[in-house]
C-alpha cells in the first residue's frame, strides 16, 4: 500500500494538469484573433472617405486631415501633466475625467483622449509625443464641406458610439461613422476599408518589428465617391427662400424619382459639426427646441395634407366610377350632412361645381360629395374604407416610402379596421369620416410623401421610390430605386384631374402665382394645426401647404412645400413652389417682386407665440399683419367663382 501513495499522487496530478490544460486551451479558449492580442500593436491607416458631388458634378463634400490623441490607459506612465495639458489645451480636471472615461471603457484598448486636433496643435505636440507613454496620435480624415447648404441631406460623421461598435466589428473606439444623411445611408461605400499594420510589442510596450514580417498587414482601400441627386443651386435657392420660416421643401424629378432638393428650414452650416467644436455645436443645435435645426422637416413633419389631398379623392372617385368629369355639385358655401344638419364650411364662393372647377376652386362641398359617394358605393362602410384606403396608399402614402435616408415617418391613411376600432359597434359611415375628403381628419402625410404623390400624378399613375443617390463610383445603385411603382388608378382618369390642377394656376386659388412660359399644375393647401399648451388643446396658425409639378406635359419637377404656421396655402408655400419651379426650369427668376416678398417675410413671431405667451386668436395675427394681401386674394377668388357662375 505504501508503495502506491506517491504513484497514485503522480497519476492524479498528471490528470489534473491535462484537465486544466484542456480547460485553458481547448474548452475556455476563444478563437485566437490578432486584433485581441495585446502583444500586437495595431496601427490603422484610414483611407480617403469618398467625396460627395451634386447632380451637376459640383463638389459638395471633401476631406481634411485630422489628428486624434489616442490613449491606452494601461500603458500610461507618470508624466508631466502640466505640460501635457497645456499642449492639448485642456485643464488638469479634464485630464482626470478623460483618463477615467478611457479607463472605464477599457484599460488595454485604445480610445480617443482628445479628438480632432488642429494642425497647429498637432505640430506643437508631435515632437513631444514620444515622451508620453500610452498616448499616440492617430491620423484620420475629417469632412471638409465645400458648401453651407444641405446639412440635413449631407449629414455628418462622428465617433462611433459603443452600440455601433458592438454591432459592427469593423469599428473601433474613435473611428468615425456616418451619423446622418447620406453619410449614414452610404457609409459602407463612402468609408472604404481601413488598412492595418500588425507590430510585435514587448512587455515594455516597445515595438520590436512587424509581426511575421507584415504578411497580415493590409493597405487601405479608398472610399467610393458618390453623386447625389440634389441640385445644389436649387437646394441653395430653396434654403434662401425658407429663411426665417420653419418647414420643408421636397422636389422630385418625376421621371426618375431622384430628389432634386430636400430643404429643411431652419438648417445649419454643416461645417459646424466638424472639428473640436463639434460636440459643443451639436448640443447647441440639439437644444434649439423652437427651430429644431437637426430635425429634417421634409422627412419628419407629419401633418394633415389639406386640399392637395383632394386630387387623390377625385382620382379615387373616378376610378370607382361614382362620378365622372361632368358630374356637378352645387355648393351652398358648405356641405350639409347628417340628421342634425351638420355643415362642413366651404370658402370657394359657392355655386355649381364640376371636377375642374371643384379642384381649381378647392370646393369642399364637391369633394365631400365625391368622398361620400365613394364610401357609400359599398354597403359595408368598413369594406368601402379599405378600398378607398388601398387606392390612396398606392400613391406611397400611409407607410414608409423606402427612400435612402434613414429617417422618416409613416404618416396615416385610415382604413376600415382603423374606424372599427374607434367605433367598436360599427356605427360609423361615410359622413363620420367626411373630413378625410378634404385632407383633414385622420389623414397624415409628410412633405416627401406629398412630393412623391405629386410626382405620381405628374407621371399619370406611377412613381419611382424617391432617392438621394444618383450614382456611386464603380457601382450601380440599388434596383429598388429604378423599379416603377404603379398606382391603382387608371391612366385615363389623370388627365381631367391634371387639367383641374392646371386651372388652379390658370384661374383658381394660385392664379396670382403664374409663371410666364411654364405650364404649372398645383394645388394649395391649408392644414389646421393644433397643439397642447399647458394641457389645453389650442389651435395655432394653419400650416401653409402647396404641391405642384411642371411642365404640365412631360413634367421635370414635382414639388411639395410646407411652411409651418404660414397660414393659407398660396401665401407662402405657393409662392415658394412657384419660385422653385421657375428657378429649376428657367434657371433664373422673372418675378423678382414675388421673390423679394418671400425673402423678406419672417414667421419668427409665429414660432415665438407658444413660448412668449402672446394671445393666438385663431390666425388672428397673420390676418392683421397681411390683411391687405388676404383681402386681395379673397376678392380674386370671389370674382373667379362669379365668372364660373355666369
Amino acid at each position: 500500500m505504501r508503495k502506491l501513495l506517491l504513484f497514485s499522487i503522480i497519476i492524479l496530478v498528471g490528470f489534473t494538469f491535462i484537465g486544466r490544460l484542456f480547460y485553458l486551451q481547448v474548452y475556455n479558449s476563444k478563437t485566437y484573433s490578432l486584433y485581441e492580442d495585446n502583444a500586437i500593436r495595431k496601427v490603422f491607416d484610414y483611407p480617403k472617405r469618398g467625396y460627395v458631388y451634386d447632380r451637376n458634378g459640383e463638389l459638395l463634400v471633401a476631406n481634411q486631415p485630422s489628428y486624434d490623441v489616442m490613449i491606452i490607459p494601461r500603458e500610461v506612465e507618470p508624466l508631466d501633466t502640466l505640460e501635457f495639458c497645456s499642449l492639448l489645451k485642456i485643464t488638469k480636471e479634464d485630464f482626470k475625467t478623460k483618463f477615467q472615461r478611457a479607463y472605464t471603457y477599457s484599460p488595454r484598448l485604445p480610445s480617443p483622449f482628445v479628438p480632432q486636433l488642429s494642425k497647429a496643435d498637432y505640430a506643437a505636440l508631435q515632437e513631444k509625443m514620444r515622451k508620453y507613454k500610452g498616448f499616440y496620435i492617430q491620423k484620420r480624415s475629417l469632412r471638409d464641406y465645400q458648401t453651407t447648404i444641405g446639412a440635413n441631406v449631407l449629414g455628418f460623421i462622428a465617433e462611433a458610439n459603443q452600440s455601433e461598435i458592438a454591432a459592427d466589428s469593423y469599428y473601433q473606439m474613435g473611428d468615425l461613422i456616418g451619423k446622418q444623411g447620406i453619410e449614414t445611408s452610404y457609409e459602407k461605400d463612402l468609408r472604404g476599408v481601413k488598412g492595418v499594420k500588425f507590430i510585435q510589442k514587448d512587455r515594455f510596450n516597445r515595438d520590436i518589428g512587424p509581426y511575421k514580417d507584415g504578411i497580415f498587414d493590409t493597405i487601405p482601400i479608398a472610399g467610393h465617391d458618390v453623386t447625389v441627386s440634389i441640385d445644389a443651386q436649387l437646394q441653395a435657392y430653396g434654403e434662401l427662400l425658407m429663411q426665417n420660416k420653419v418647414g420643408g421643401i421636397v422636389a422630385i424629378e418625376p421621371s426618375t424619382g431622384e430628389i432634386l432638393s430636400l430643404v429643411s428650414a431652419p438648417s445649419y452650416n454643416p461645417n459646424l459639426l466638424v472639428g473640436r467644436e463639434r460636440s459643443k455645436n451639436y448640443t447647441k443645435l440639439h437644444n434649439d427646441s423652437i427651430h429644431l435645426p437637426l430635425i429634417d422637416k421634409g422627412l419628419l413633419r407629419m401633418h394633415e395634407p389639406g386640399s392637395p389631398f383632394k386630387s387623390l379623392v377625385a382620382l379615387t372617385a373616378l376610378q370607382e366610377g361614382v362620378l365622372d368629369v361632368n358630374t356637378t355639385v352645387t355648393c351652398h358655401h358648405g356641405y350639409v350632412y347628417g340628421r342634425n344638419g351638420r355643415k362642413m364650411a366651404c370658402h370657394c364662393g359657392g355655386g355649381v361645381r364640376n371636377l375642374n372647377s371643384g379642384i381649381a376652386q378647392s370646393c369642399n362641398a364637391y369633394f365631400a360629395t365625391a368622398y361620400r359617394k365613394t364610401i357609400e358605393k359599398y354597403d359595408d362602410a368598413s369594406h368601402a374604407m379599405d378600398v378607398w384606403s388601398s387606392h390612396i396608399k398606392s400613391f406611397g402614402l400611409g407607410d414608409y416610402l423606402g427612400y435612402d435616408l434613414t429617417i422618416g415617418k409613416k404618416g396615416n391613411i385610415p382604413d376600415g379596421a382603423y374606424y372599427d376600432k374607434w367605433y367598436p359597434d360599427f356605427r360609423w359611415q361615410a359622413t363620420t369620416t367626411l373630413s378625410n375628403a378634404i385632407g383633414q381628419g385622420e389623414v397624415l402625410v409628410t412633405p416627401i410623401q406629398l412630393a412623391n404623390m405629386t410626382a405620381a400624378i405628374a407621371n399619370r399613375g406611377f412613381y419611382y421610390t424617391p432617392h438621394i443617390i444618383k450614382s456611386i463610383e464603380g457601382k450601380t445603385i440599388d434596383t429598388a430605386y429604378t423599379t416603377k411603382h404603379q398606382t391603382t388608378i387608371d391612366k385615363r382618369h389623370f388627365e381631367p384631374v391634371i387639367e383641374g390642377l392646371f386651372d388652379v394656376y390658370n384661374k383658381g386659388t394660385a392664379h396670382f402665382l403664374q409663371v410666364p412660359g411654364i405650364e404649372i399644375c398645383g394645388k394649395t393647401g391649408t392644414a389646421e394645426n393644433f397643439t397642447k399648451i399647458d394641457g389645453v388643446r389650442t389651435q395655432l396658425t394653419d400650416h401653409s401647404i402647396f404641391i405642384a409639378f411642371a411642365p404640365k406635359d412631360n413634367p421635370k419637377i414635382a414639388i411639395a412645400v410646407l411652411v409651418e404656421n404660414g397660414y393659407f396655402g398660396a401665401r407662402f408655400a405657393g409662392r415658394i413652389a412657384s419660385l422653385m419651379i421657375e428657378k429649376y426650369i428657367k434657371g433664373s427668376i422673372t418675378r423678382t417682386d414675388l421673390e423679394q416678398w418671400v425673402m423678406e417675410r419672417t414667421l419668427e413671431h409665429e414660432y415665438d407665440k407658444p413660448f412668449s405667451g402672446k394671445p393666438f386668436g385663431i390666425n388672428a395675427n397673420s390676418k392683421i399683419m397681411l390683411v391687405e394681401e388676404y383681402e386681395r386674394l379673397k376678392k380674386l377668388e370671389v370674382n373667379q367663382s362669379q365668372t364660373i357662375l355666369k
Binding site: 505504501r2 501513495l5 506517491l6 504513484f7 496530478v13 498528471g14 475556455n28 510585435q200
Partner: protein
C-alpha cells in the same frame, strides 16, 4: 571503474530517452522564450539559448563522469558529499552573490553556481545512507528525528538564503519516509495539517473549529469501535483549534505581504471585485500573463517561435520558472500535454526502478529522486497554470540555468548508475 560495452547496456535507456526528450524540448522553448524572434546562431554565447546549449553540452560531460564512477562510491561517500554540500551552503553567506533578493549564488569567473541545486542530491544520498544503515530503525522516534535533522539543516540554510521555493522541495522527503515505514499517523497528521490550514484560512477559525470538533465527536461516538475516555476527543479538538489559531497567526503575522497576497488570491479570500481586479493586475501579473499565454495557444499552438506573447516577453521569467507557458502558447494543448505525459512517465519509471532495487540504499535514493522531481514538476506546472500559489522553483530539465540542470542531471544519473549496478547487488 570498469565501463565495458556489456555493462553500458545495463543503463535504463527508457529513463535516459525520456531525459533527453525533456532536455531537448526544453531547449527549443528556451530559444523561443529568450530570443526576440530572430536567431543568428544557436551557439551565440551572449544569448540565453546559446549559453543553455553550452550548459547542456557540459551536462553530457557530467553524465559520463557520474556514470563512470563506481556505484559503491556514492554510498560510501554519501556523508562526505553531504558535508561538503552543507559547507557550500554556509559558504554562500560569506562569498555569495545576491540575485533577485536570494543570496544563493557563487560567482566563479563569470559563471554563477547555485549550491542549493546540488544540495538536493547530496541530501538524498545522505538520507538514503542513514536510513539504509543497519543500526537505523526509522520506526523509532529517535531515528525519525535524526533523519528529519538531515533534511532540516539544508532546508533551513536555503530558507536563510531567502529562497523559500527551494526550501519547500525538501518536503518531498516525506514520501520517502512514508515509503520506508514511518507510522501511518504521520500521513494522517500531514493531511490534517493541510486540510486544517486551508479551512482555517478560507473560512476563518471559528467555523473551522466548530466543524472539526463536531466531526471528531461524531467519529468518537459513532464510528470508533473501541471507545476510550471522553478526554481524547476533547484533547484532539483543542489541539486542532489551537492549530487553527496558529495558522491564522502565521498567515497574518509571519508571512510577508506578497506571500499573503498569493495565498489570498489562491484561496479567493478577497471578495471585493475591484480590489481583486487590481490584485490580478499587480501581484498576479505574472500568472495572469502566463495563463493568457497558455490559453492563447489553443489546441495546436501557434508554432515554434510564433508565440506573440513569448516573443514579446509578456511573461516575466519565461525562460526559467515560467518556461511552461511558452510550451503552452507555442505548442498548444497537444504539446503541453505531451510534456506532462513525459514527466509522468519519467516519474513512474523511476518509481518502478526504485522498487526493483535490491539494496535499500538504492531504493531510498531512487524514491528521493522521484519525489524531488515530482515536487518540482507539480509546483512549477501547477503554479504556471494558476492551480497553486506562486512559488518560484524551476521546472526540471526545462528551465534555463546551469546549476539547476546540472543538479537535476546528477540527481537522476546517480540513480541510473545505482540501478545499472543492481545485478551486482546481493
Amino acid at each position: 571503474m570498469s565501463l565495458n560495452r556489456n555493462r553500458s547496456f545495463k543503463f535504463d535507456w527508457i529513463t535516459i530517452i525520456l531525459f533527453l526528450l525533456l532536455v531537448g524540448f526544453g531547449w527549443l522553448n528556451i530559444i523561443s522564450a529568450s530570443s526576440s524572434g530572430e536567431i543568428t546562431s544557436y551557439f551565440d554565447i551572449d544569448q540565453r539559448y546559446g549559453k543553455q546549449l553550452v550548459f547542456i553540452l557540459f551536462t553530457f560531460v557530467l553524465i559520463i563522469l557520474v556514470l563512470s564512477i563506481e556505484a559503491k562510491f556514492y554510498e560510501r561517500f554519501a556523508s562526505i558529499i553531504y558535508l561538503v554540500s552543507i559547507l557550500s551552503l554556509i559558504g554562500v553567506f560569506i562569498f555569495g552573490k545576491t540575485i533577485n533578493g536570494a543570496t544563493s549564488w557563487y560567482n566563479i569567473g563569470g559563471f554563477t553556481l547555485q549550491p542549493s541545486e546540488f544540495a538536493k542530491f547530496a541530501t538524498a544520498l545522505a538520507v538514503a545512507k542513514y536510513i539504509s544503515d543497519l543500526q537505523t530503525n526509522i520506526k523509532t522516534i529517535k531515528d525519525q528525528l535524526k533523519t528529519a535533522l538531515l533534511i532540516f539543516v539544508p532546508a533551513f540554510l536555503i530558507l536563510l538564503q531567502n529562497d523559500a521555493g527551494s526550501t519547500i522541495v525538501y518536503a518531498a522527503f516525506f514520501f520517502v519516509f512514508y515509503r520506508e515505514g514511518i507510522p501511518q499517523i504521520y500521513l494522517l497528521l500531514v493531511l490534517s495539517i493541510v486540510i486544517l490550514s486551508v479551512l482555517s484560512l478560507k473560512f476563518s477559525v471559528l467555523p473551522t473549529a466548530i466543524i472539526v470538533t463536531i466531526l471528531i465527536f461524531l467519529h468518537h461516538f459513532f464510528l470508533k469501535k473501541k471507545k476510550g475516555t471522553i478526554l481524547n476527543p476533547i484533547f484532539i479538538s483543542l489541539i486542532c483549534i489551537a492549530f487553527s489559531f496558529g495558522i491564522q497567526f502565521f498567515y497574518s503575522s509571519v508571512l510577508q505581504p506578497h506571500q499573503q497576497d498569493r495565498i489570498s488570491l489562491w484561496l479567493r479570500l478577497e471578495k471585493d471585485p475591484e480590489k481583486l481586479e487590481q490584485m490580478k493586475r499587480t501581484i498576479l501579473y505574472n500568472l495572469h500573463e502566463s495563463e493568457k499565454a497558455i490559453s492563447s495557444g489553443g489546441l495546436t499552438g501557434k508554432g515554434f517561435m510564433e508565440g506573440t506573447r513569448t516573443i514579446g516577453k509578456f511573461v516575466p521569467e519565461q525562460d526559467t520558472d515560467y518556461i511552461f507557458s511558452t510550451v503552452g502558447e507555442e505548442w498548444g494543448f497537444l504539446g503541453s500535454s505531451l510534456v506532462v505525459v513525459l514527466f509522468v512517465l519519467l516519474l513512474i519509471r523511476i518509481l518502478h526502478l526504485a522498487e526493483l532495487q535490491k539494496s535499500q540504499f538504492s531504493r531510498i535514493y531512487g524514491y528521493s529522486v522521484a519525489s524531488i522531481l515530482f515536487l518540482h514538476f507539480m509546483i512549477n506546472v501547477g503554479m504556471v497554470m494558476g492551480l497553486i500559489p506562486t512559488i518560484g522553483i524551476p521546472l526540471p530539465f526545462f528551465s534555463a540555468g546551469g546549476s539547476g540542470l546540472w543538479g537535476f542531471t546528477i540527481l537522476l544519473f546517480i540513480f541510473i548508475k545505482l540501478d545499472s549496478n543492481r545485478i551486482n547487488e546481493w
